[in-house]
Symmetry: C2
Subunit: 443 residues, 2 copies
């Protein structure tokens, strides 16, 4: 039954992921052929630095001319693992124009230009797959695009960046500060020399945009995602979370609004209860919850990055693209028919943990509570502590000039209401500063 | 772009799952049409008892003649949610003969006759999908068949039966015995009036056969799966597990042998450490670990049964089958090319927790330890307890005629070696009985 002409694959990029893709394609060639129904052949590998020896990568296939490779005309599937916007975007578009399907691991590009790429694929009757762009080896794009396509997804919530999870895990387990934990992550290879994309939440935001778009069948661009990194998370925040029976995670949260008329997507640090399954996601692992009308609550867990896991996702997509080339089928295209607008952060409703530096004198709590009430933000719990670490008295302090810390946890409120509350609090004479504001999720 | 002739769907069975499928197809018709690219229409619903009123199910579509329905010739996709072997098997085969693709939630049938059903589908160029047959709404069949198709899966380990997990969870949390916990499960609707299929492990074994076949690209039949139910799990076993920092779960475990030349599939109760993520899977939830060469360790978690979750899985498959009808593609067929044989239970290597009733007199431990050593089974830990609950002395008991309990936990050993060990132990005068043997997994 197996045809003999092999399917030809061009590999763009041969770094940590690409070299692993090449290795598996070579060592598992027989398995891949059996699973696809035809042999699959690595026809060329485009790299920037051909002099770098890559173990197990056939040297005769290496070229620096990626454009010529994707223009060859005999390539069935192009695998793009370069990353970044250009030249990846132009190469992918050129690949479609020359009849190839594309498998990409490029979250930044898919998040920014997914709609245009899908349109280019559609025009040529080609496939665009990108499981590897989100959460490494964890099947998430395919389950959302295909398994849950008959359901109504209301929420996607998870840890989608391994670097920041490693840092927060270290801060939580050792009491280390952010800088110290980042240094450890860098030393162990979990953080890049320039960690901006991870620690400022850009990487997670790109994934949130992709997941929200698929989950809600609408277009969500990177710019639509509210983004806060973890550089301002302090050891004191982690300690405060612990006192509440919580831990701090950098979460990506995509939600359908209660009225169903809009969606939101955001990335920020948040406290979650230790009893929540995401609380026990350690080191650089990823985990994502999906809540759907009929399916209920699902969780997907696994390694969110790394050469081998990402290569696993790429190869799954490669087999799908090859099978379609062989059988004439088509992978799912862009599904954005709901045209649901992406709402502003102010519309997001959640709980908040606010830490205030206040004067340790009578009436402060009453003043603060009044401000919350005036903005319609209901308080769940309040905890006061003197600067010396002892509990401060609620307005019965012996030292009227001293400082104290006041921690307020609210009930659910809109981000807009909370922001207005904090704005007013800052103007109180008795509030010396807002030490931190953190959302509380997963309850 | 959307064609106007609707795709026609025949629904076989309208119980808990079927009625939910019909309801969602009606209420979400517009969404399904947008996602498929053509409207999808419920063309007929075959039931045994047409007089039973089903809310939201169009009465004019109901028929008792399932055979006539699948023979109509204008049906694009048949959804089979009857369960059991016949008449489901004949109806599905007839559906293929009349050009339809089939979506089934029937684990027993797929486990028993999957190869023949796949062949029948293949012959007609039709699709056979069955995500709902394993672990309800949790995407597991598609991730294994498609997402991980470029990887090498070595192990699938999980909780795939909600009824038994509910029972074990109750036994663990309340100290209840098996019968009491089963009664509670029955009262709450988690167990059927005849719970045999669940508590004897038949349901989990069918799922294990399906998962092993997909994971290892070979044929695994229901009869190939070693099966032990949980009816003999006692409150004492659960208590003993707790003392070890473990809990007891009914696990389905599919493994590639260390030499890669065979696979095994088994279902049995096992102790797992409380630190293992499966230990915290509560009530009727399911969770499955998949270990693959490149991907590493993945986990999938969610509701493993129930009308809505199962309907979610059915609808995902229905959209896929409809899209293929529309675009000319094909879902994955049977992949059994590795032809790996299924090894006997004796080849399985794991750890064991053995509880012995022994005479409380000098030399017993030495005797028992000698038997283990003679069979090449290495002991990890031993714990002795007097019948009165106090610690028994290792051969220095004041009461040479009394009874004691001896708990042995082994290192990894083959099931054959362990069985031979236990056989010899039973022949010792000092061993009055083997109270329980339980495997220890997930370490």
């Amino acid at each position: 039954m197996m045809r003999t002409r092999p399917l030809k694959v061009a590999l763009l990029g041969c770094g940590v992921v690409g070299s692993e893709v090449a290795r598996i394609m070579t060592t598992h060639a027989d398995d891949l052929a059996a699973r696809i129904g035809a042999p699959v052949e690595l026809a060329g590998i485009a790299v920037r630095r051909p002099d770098r020896v890559r173990e197990g990568v056939p040297a005769e296939l290496v070229t620096t001319d990626a454009t010529a490779l994707v223009k060859r005309g005999d390539i069935d599937v192009v695998v793009e693992v370069i990353g970044g916007i250009e030249p990846a975007r132009t190469l992918i578009t050129t690949a479609f124009e020359h009849g190839a399907s594309v498998v990409s691991a490029n979250k930044a590009l898919v998040a920014q230009d997914g709609a245009a790429l899908h349109a280019a694929a559609e025009e040529q009757g080609a496939d665009l797959y990108y499981e590897a762009a989100v959460a490494g080896a964890i099947p998430l794009v395919r389950p959302l695009r295909e398994s849950l396509v008959g359901d109504k997804v209301n929420r996607v919530l998870g840890i989608v960046n391994g670097t920041t999870n490693f840092i927060l895990d270290r801060m939580d387990s050792s009491g280390a500060g952010y800088s110290e934990a980042l240094d450890e992550a860098t030393a162990l290879g979990y953080a890049e020399a320039d960690p901006t994309a991870d620690v400022e939440g850009f990487d997670a935001a790109a994934k949130a945009a992709i997941l929200a778009g698929i989950a809600f069948h609408t277009r969500v661009r990177l710019d639509d995602v509210h983004r806060e990194g973890l550089t301002e998370v302090t050891a004191a925040d982690i300690a405060s979370a612990k006192r509440m029976g919580c831990t701090v995670k950098l979460l990506a949260i995509c939600e359908r609004a209660a009225d169903g008329l809009s969606v939101t997507a955001r990335v920020h640090p948040a406290m979650i209860p230790l009893s929540h399954p995401l609380a026990s996601v350690r080191e650089a692992y990823n985990a994502v919850f999906v809540e759907a009308d009929a399916a209920g609550q699902l969780m997907f867990y696994g390694p969110g990055a790394g050469g081998s896991p990402t290569a696993s996702a790429v190869l799954g997509d490669l087999v799908a693209a090859c099978r379609n080339k062989l059988n004439g089928g088509r992978g799912p295209g862009e599904s954005a028919y709901t045209r649901l607008p992406v709402g502003p952060m102010g519309e997001v409703v959640t709980r908040y943990h606010i830490s205030l530096d206040v004067a340790d004198k009578p009436g402060v709590l009453a003043q603060v509570a009044t401000v919350f009430a005036e903005h319609g933000v209901s308080i769940d719990t309040v905890r006061q502590t003197g600067k010396d670490g002892h509990g401060a008295a609620t307005g019965v302090s012996a030292d009227g000039g001293g400082g104290a810390s006041l921690v307020v946890v609210t009930h659910r409120a809109s981000d807009a209401a909370l922001s207005a509350t904090v704005e007013t609090l800052r103007q109180l004479d008795t509030v010396r500063g807002v030490a931190s504001i953190m959302r509380v999720e997963g309850e």
